[in-house]
Amino acid sequence: MVRKKGYPEALEKKLRDQRYYREDSNPEFLPKVKAISRTIAHMCFQCGTCTGSCPSAPRSTYRIRQFMRRAVLGLENEALTDPDLWLCTTCYSCTDRCPRDIAPTDVIMAMRNLAFKRDIIPVNFLKTVQAIYSSGHGVPNNDVNRAARERLGLTRDPPTTHMYPEYIKGIQTILNHYNLKANADRIVKEREG
């Protein structure tokens, strides 16, 4: 809806945000989230135990309860385009304590899956994909770690793909099966050139 009076853009946005029923409310969104997350997302009664438990909430604008609300109301665009979606640490504290026995963490994971289908994903997540593809690790070993491991009497590299690089191929096969690497490369290229 175009406003004729010419409000400043920030005010325009604020007024738009305050409309309760948004045009992007999608009745298919909640069933999709439930199917992927395999949790009873529709049963949230907004008690706030999740946000209260969340280690991310006091340090960021991430509000897990708000995402649960968006799921219940089917506010697909609002949920998937909110960059906060990617601030969950997946610690599962909320899932542990939710009195309705919902797994809010899994709801977030479902939303991330749906967002990725629309290429909505921060580049750092994609770089993790690339790191796993090349080394088998999201956070590959480095020299500081290697020195620490030696001090503790451990092998310089852990008994993973670092020690057995021949298994990286298997990981790559899995990632290729889902086109994850190709998609990651494509999006990173689009964003960073």
Binding site: C47, T49, G52, S53, D101
Partner: protein, 707 residues
Amino acid sequence: MMAEKKKAGSKKMEAKKETPKQAAPVPKKAPATAAPASGKKEQTRIGVFICHCGTNIAGSMNIEAVQEYAKTIPNVGYVDNYKYMCSMPGQAVINKAIKDNKLTGVVVAACSPRLHEPTFRTATKEGGLNPFRFEMANIREQNSWVHMHDQEGSTEKAKDAIRIAVAKASLLQDLFPKAVPVEHAAMVVGAGVAGMQAALDLAAAGIKTYLIESQPSIGGRMSQLDKTFPTLDCSQCILTPKMVDVGRAANIELMTYSEVDAVEGYIGNFDVTIRKKARGVLSMPEAEAKGMVGGGCNGCGDCEAPCPVIKPNEFEVGMKPRKAIYISHPQVVPLLYTIDFDSCIKCGLCVTACGEKKAIDLEAKDEFVKVKVGTAILATGYDMFPVEKKTEWGYKKFENVISSLEFERLICASGPTSGHIIRPSDGETPKRVAFVLCAGSRDNTGNGKPYCSRFCCMYSLKHAHQIYEKIPGVQSYLFYMDIRSFGKMYEEFYYRIQDEGAKFIRGRVANILEDPATKNLHVYTDDTLLNRPVDMEVDLVVLAAAVQPKEDTDRTRKLFGVSCSMDGWLLEAHPKLNPCGTTTAGVFLAGVCQGPKDIPDTVASAEGAASAASIPIHMGEVELEPYFATCIEEKCAGCGMCVNLCPYSALALVEKEGRQVMEVTEAKCKGCGTCGGFCPGGAIWMNHFATPQIVAQIDAFLLGGEQ
């Protein structure tokens, strides 16, 4: 038998007419079972009446087609339909049809028999038939409502249901309910406010009432509370007069420190065995009965001082000590000391202190007393949910996290701190107090209670008021999901507490952590209305813990044959229309044992239960449904297998004409059919659910409309 019938084909109708006479050799000694049409060859004529129930039934099936079909069913002598069969004109249709068509049985195809069986039995009786010549075909709950969008299917199913009902109605016999006398006495189990109120009402109605309490004193949970919402009456002040009345009422026989041990019998005649736990102290009347005139406990307390054993006082939630010989608080009724034999070392110092009164007997043993009552009320109450199970709130881990019941004792003038609310860690007066609501309630995790405990919102408001009253400059924070202030003057109370300065934070508490240096607590939640996480530092946390049925409830309910719902609360006969009754005739429920209730609701429910329990007693006799088993003595081999199978101890072997046969105590028999189904000789006849009647129903279903 069925296979034969299938082959018999056209013979079936004749066979059916024969069946009542063949298969129902009426036991000689059964006045309730009259012989079916003693010898006369009256033709079976069943009337079928189809109800529309407005559009409830008629909207989902073709009534016309069902009616046309019913006319073709064997033995049917009359068919009619009406918009509301249960209405007066509807019943008049039945009444007239019975007389005009000389009907021998009635089938009404309508709703569930649980709803209108009594109505149509009466209509059948008014038409001149025995009321048990009536059978109901449920074509609403089990048909039109569940097959709302399948007109054809529901029509066919209704035809089946009517055919089956007609098959049974053709074989029904006249039955005559038996009346049994009702003992002019009642029992109330549990002497909290519910049990006390029920007992007082029964006693006032002139009924001898046995009031059984497992604790040494009556009073229950309410006697532990400081004040009551929303009126802020002192709980003890309004309760103790009732306690004294109970102790004084001539019609009440109070049995404290006692438990129900066994229950036998049925409405009107319950034989209850009560275990009087060894108390070790004789009351004055008991001492007198033993010939010690002037002896017995007068409550002087001389015994208490020398007792060397110190234990936590359960009444004070363990926050105050008591001795092994004790009274739990000054207002106990009866004023009688009790020895806790689990901790008594039998040193005998108390016996010396008691001296001439000779009230103490260290060798006391449990005693069993048998009483007979007509009706019983269960008022077994509740326990607090062990809220330490929710580890995130740190109860029993952090000293300054207390439960609401502990708060009640701390704020109570007769409590361990004489009414000073303090931090358990250092005895300091808290300046910031957090109240955590729904602590274990409304919790579907399995580690908590899925229901609302119903009175925690209100008592937490009251707690907030009490700290404002007692601590200048204090700040309270109520962490809540919803404030449920549903009762009379409750919402006004909520308004008042907010006006007094209480801060309401809408968010369920996620977790609580302790600052190890100061022992202050950090309460974490989401202020859902601000959409902002909260880390609130407070001096004291009070958990409004959920409630759950009293530990011993399950044992007690089984003795009385009462069911419970999934969460353990005792099950009422109907949640709306019979909330005090149970499915066991003569047993009623009062107070929280049926589900969480505040004090006004508890007292109301107790008065309801007392009223319901007094009705059979005042009537003097009760009619039992004549559905009991009867023994066909010629067929009985006296094997006695049925005797042990009977869940109601209604059967026994007796000697008759020189041999053993089974005999049924009709008043005890519930007609469950366990014996009848088992009897290898087919010697047990289940009235109204007899084998030929049931076989006819099965045949009618399996053979379909084919003849």
